[in-house]
């Protein structure tokens, strides 16, 4: 069976797009082939910085023949009908049609249209130009003189040539002839840009791969990755070091070379005084190089791994030296920041009372850097966070003075050079600089940790000082953006407010911290009013609080769902007034979930729903609510009296248990209700003719609703 080889050769394709593009090419071509009756045995796509290649194995040489019968008019139909039939079936005369008969319709003409399958190369020549012209690159461009005209070919970077051959293994394959915007498919490609720039003639996939390899191109990205990984580890090992593995970087680097040559570069040891995170960020982000460490100490070494794209004439000496120089220049930049940030600022040289990080805070304030145009400056934001952190500190067991200090320094590193250069190091740098100026360790740690958790997988701060500042920062952010009505919508959450709320939830739940959320949200609003640049909320305060609490409820549901916990009961608890202690809400939800899973729970829920349904219907019909206390004098049946007594006991005992935060106990109390509810529905008819009796029984049903609300709003329970 014949194979297809397709190569699209262009200028350098961005590394991050290569893998996806190869997958897209495979899917687009094979789907188009299958749609046209051309099934195949296997297909694989490849990418290098300069080419996308597709190999499809085991294609038929031609499409299957199609045989189609077209029913025509009855024999003896008017001439016009016969002519119309001949035309539609593509017949020259009626003699070419056969006659079939049918008991109902009698004799009629049938045209057998045989469409012989087309040769696969012809099909390919038809489908490939369209696939190339509409290829789904994330970003594409026009180029050259052709770009003056509308509708010019777009590609990720200029497309230069196309290889397309088709044929069986035993023969020399044919070139599939087609053309896209002046580029004619052929059987020539090119090798490595510098090491083998001449044309390479190819036949089929096997010799294509080996010819490319001779021309210093390794087609398969996974092989390039493996070569880089192995070589890097070997080079590290030979120097008594260990590679700091980095899969994201490896994938990227493999997309930057056609012929990986792994080399070792070095930098001055003195740069190792810079924090390791900074060294790594510098070398990774700017140079796309790997760092090495000493396996014994875990400390970074003053060597790095670089991946070149060429076997240089001098064995790579110039390349390693050049990369080393660039790394040194970048590290000396970083070192300059690292040193500068620890020195006094020129504008505060006479303020001996201010330590370096405090000076950065002063600069942040003095420059009136805006946090958000409606939410004041960073300085004002810091003042709010400080005030809030002081209030939160006692509740989370933090020392107030430390929490205040940590909060006041939390954002100071935004005014440092290092964070200006590497924004991803915010917090971490503040921690380093704080420790260097002798801050309490808990204060220094809080500067880094108050940003945490950054995502679902990130660490949650546990030290009380960190917790106080982290909560203050997040609550201030949430309240601020809520007050100016900048809430997340759909997939848009530019201020990461969902992450902030989830952060609060995780800090409270994972740290088993109790917090009256409403009070602190309200406090946060009050803090906001105290600072100058912060405008009064545009939304009324109760509305902000209510809405924000509902947002927390939503986030809490998402969190519990991700934890695999029962999350549909959140509303049942949130629906009760004054529920804003997330830890207690979750505990109660858990207890409620366990209770509803028992037989007692299930039955009680059924009974509750029955009561609620009857009430809803009757209250609607009568236009009144039956929310009064049932009159014991009107109880006619024993079951009514028993239910009333049970309800009274449940209200008393359940509310006592809830008050004592004994949620399991409250559920046990609820369970005692089940027999009397069941018995009531078994024996007692609610809708009787006697009006007073009926009203009293409806009030009794309402009492079930009231009693269960001591624990949860059962109307919100799903399923």
């Amino acid at each position: 069976m014949p194979d297809l080889l397709l190569e699209l050769f262009s200028e350098e394709i961005p590394a991050r797009m290569q893998r996806r593009a190869a997958d897209d090419l495979k899917a687009l071509v094979t789907n188009a082939l299958v749609d046209r009756g051309l099934t195949y045995e296997g297909a694989r796509a490849y990418a290098t910085p300069r080419r996308l290649t597709l190999h499809v194995v085991g294609l038929p040489a031609k499409q299957p023949d199609l045989r189609e019968e077209k029913k025509g008019p009855r024999v003896g139909s008017p001439e016009a009908a016969v002519q119309g039939f001949l035309k539609s079936a593509g017949l020259a005369s009626i003699d070419e049609a056969t006659i079939q008969s049918d008991p109902k319709k009698g004799e009629f003409y049938v045209a057998v249209v045989e469409r012989p399958g087309r040769a696969t190369p012809a099909v390919l020549a038809e489908i490939l130009p369209g696939i190339i012209k509409t290829f789904p690159w994330p970003k594409s461009m026009r180029w050259g003189a052709a770009s003056a005209e509308p509708g010019a070919l777009r590609w990720v970077r200029p497309l230069h040539s196309i290889v397309c051959t088709f044929g069986p293994e035993t023969e020399i394959p044919d070139v599939v002839r087609f053309e896209v915007d002046g580029i004619v498919a052929s059987d020539f490609t090119r090798g490595h840009r510098f090491m083998s720039p001449d044309l390479v003639e190819v036949r089929r996939f096997d010799d294509y791969v080996s010819s490319l390899e001779k021309a210093k191109v390794i087609l398969d990205a996974d092989r390039r990755k493996e070569i880089i990984r192995t070589e890097a580890k070997n080079l590290a090992f030979a120097r008594g070091l260990e590679l700091v593995e980095d899969d994201g970087l490896l994938e990227e680097v493999a997309g930057l070379v056609e012929w990986p040559v792994v080399l070792v570069g070095s930098f001055d040891e003195e740069f190792l005084d810079i924090p390791a995170e900074v060294v790594r960020a510098t070398i990774r982000a700017n140079q796309k190089c790997f760092v090495l460490r000493d396996p014994a100490t875990g400390r970074l070494a003053n060597k790095f791994i670089l991946v070149a794209n060429i076997e240089a004439k001098d064995g790579g000496a110039a390349i390693a030296a050049g990369n080393g120089r660039v790394v040194r220049a970048r590290l000396s930049d970083a070192n300059f920041f690292w040193q500068t940030d620890r020195r006094p600022l020129p504008e505060y040289h006479d303020r001996r009372d201010l330590k370096p990080l405090d000076q950065r805070l002063e600069r942040l304030k003095a420059l009136k850097v805006v946090f958000h145009e409606k939410l004041g400056t960073q300085g004002e934001r810091v003042a709010r966070i400080v005030a809030l952190a002081k209030q939160l500190a006692p509740l989370v067991g933090a020392d107030v003075a430390r929490a205040e200090r940590a909060a006041s320094l939390a954002k100071a590193d935004l005014a440092t050079e290092m964070v200006g250069e590497f924004p991803e190091l915010q917090g971490l740098m503040g921690r380093y600089y704080a420790a260097l100026q002798g801050e309490d360790p808990a204060v220094a740690a809080a500067i880094e940790d108050h940003y945490k958790p950054q995502g679902p997988a990130d660490r949650v701060p546990t030290d009380p000082v960190s917790v106080a500042v982290a909560l203050a920062d997040k609550l201030d952010t949430l309240v601020g953006f809520w007050s100016i009505d900048e809430k997340p919508t759909g997939s848009k959450d530019p201020y990461a407010l969902r992450r902030a709320a989830l952060g609060v939830i995780r800090i409270l739940l994972e740290g088993s911290i109790r917090l009256p959320l409403m009070k602190f949200l309200d406090d946060a609003i009050v803090m906001g009013k105290l600072t100058d640049g912060y405008r009064l909320p545009e939304m009324p305060r109760p509305a902000v609080l209510r809405d924000l609490l509902a947002f927390f409820a939503d986030r809490l549901k998402v969190y519990l769902r991700d934890q695999g916990a029962r999350y549909d009961l959140i509303d049942a608890v949130f629906a009760l007034e004054g529920q804003d202690d997330l830890l207690m809400i979750v505990r109660r939800v858990e207890a409620l979930g366990r209770f509803l899973a028992t037989e007692d729970g299930e039955h009680l829920l059924v009974g509750y729903r029955r009561a609620a349904n009857i009430l809803r219907i009757e209250e609607k019909k009568d236009g009144v609510t039956y929310d009064g206390t049932p009159d014991p004098a009107l109880f006619a049946e024993e079951e009514e009296r028993a239910l009333a007594a049970a309800l009274a006991a449940v209200r008393r005992d359940a509310s006592a248990a809830i008050a004592a935060e004994d949620f399991e106990g409250a559920m046990r109390v609820l369970a005692t209700l089940r027999p009397s509810v069941d018995a009531f529905f078994d024996k007692v008819t609610v809708n009787v003719d006697a009006a007073a009796l009926r009203a009293n029984r409806l009030k009794l049903l309402n009492a079930i609703r009231v009693a269960t609300r001591e624990v949860a709003d059962f109307s919100k329970v799903e399923g």
């Binding site: 350098e12 970003k139 510098f194 240089a312 390349i319 990369n323 790394v327 300059f336 504008e347 850097v369």
Partner: protein
């Protein structure tokens, strides 16, 4: 013709510039001189920004002193300057072998691709202030970014038809590399030795110190805010005054270039204000937007001129 040793691009900063100029002159470029205004990059030169618009072919190369007030380091950083040189090449439409031409130009200045690792690393270019974007690469030589390579797709909010290829060489970095110097101030400027040698530091160190002071500490922000408003207003006024009046004497825009000067001015004033740290993150956006509106209006005006391809009635 063998150039004298003092013009060898591997020894002389000016030799490097002259070599590039000669290289591109031989490939049909007009060799322009720097634009006589403060700009943040060679792209701002009307020979790039405006000439990239419209159907007319254009090939030019020039050195452009570029000012990035925020990058000042008081002369203390060996790699960062608030004033530096870019060598800019614009080829419209881009020739099919533009990558090859670029590599040949590197060879001309002494970078042998058989010894060095030259790479085209994705870097999509966007100038929010110019309303321009393009796709291309940073060109790396042994891990150092030595050039920017961009296929302009849009400038001043208009599609480029045809597309121009833009090459921007960072001259100091390139010179540091070929001269094997780690500190920009040690670059040999004139290629001479001994008493005759002039270094980059001799020429520019004092300027870096003084301008860093100016950019970060002393530039009068009240005045700059005023200059920004003035340039903005003047740009708009010139654009309105130069509009073709259709039926009258003028069928073409009369003042696209002077208006564009004011746009450049506003952009530089904004950069100074930014360096002074008096523009907040959110305000930044609105300033950038204001400059972009000017750039777009200037581009639109340019397309109504002869240079922009409009035909006089």
């Amino acid at each position: 013709m063998q150039a004298p040793e003092y013009l060898n691009p591997r020894r002389s900063f000016q030799g490097l510039i002259l070599t590039l100029q000669r290289f591109w002159a031989e490939r049909g470029c007009v060799i322009l001189q720097p634009y006589d205004m403060e700009v943040g990059a060679g792209t701002f030169h009307p020979a790039t920004t405006l000439r990239a618009l419209g159907p007319k072919p254009w090939r030019a190369a020039y050195v452009q002193p570029s000012r990035r007030p925020k990058d000042g380091r008081y002369g203390e950083n060996p790699n960062r300057l608030q004033h530096y040189y870019q060598f800019q090449v614009i080829l419209k439409p881009n020739p099919p072998d533009i990558q090859e031409l670029y590599l040949q130009s590197l060879y001309a200045i002494g970078i042998d691709p058989a010894v060095h690792d030259i790479r085209f690393v994705e870097d999509d270019w966007e100038s929010p202030t110019l309303g321009a974007w393009g796709l291309g690469w940073e060109c790396w030589c042994d891990g150092m970014e030595v050039s920017q390579f961009t296929y302009f797709q849009q400038v001043a909010g208009f599609e480029c038809a045809p597309v121009a290829g833009e090459l921007t060489y960072g001259l100091e970095r390139l010179a540091m590399y070929v001269q094997g110097v780690e500190n920009v101030y040690e670059l040999n400027f004139n290629g001479r030795e001994g008493d005759e040698k002039v270094t980059y530091g001799d020429v520019f160190l004092q300027a870096e110190e003084e301008y860093s002071r100016h950019n970060f500490e002393f530039a009068d922000t009240e005045m700059l805010f005023r200059h920004f408003r003035d340039a903005e207003a003047e740009c708009k006024r010139l654009l309105a005054a130069g509009e073709p009046d259709g039926g009258g004497n003028y069928h073409l825009h009369q003042m696209a270039l002077p208006a564009y000067d004011q746009c450049i001015k506003a952009s530089h004033v904004f950069n100074l204000l930014d360096a002074r740290g008096v523009i907040s993150v959110t305000e930044r956006q609105s300033y950038i937007l204001r400059v972009r509106e000017l750039a777009k209006a200037c581009g639109a005006a340019w397309l109504k001129t002869e240079g922009g391809g409009a035909a006089a009635a």
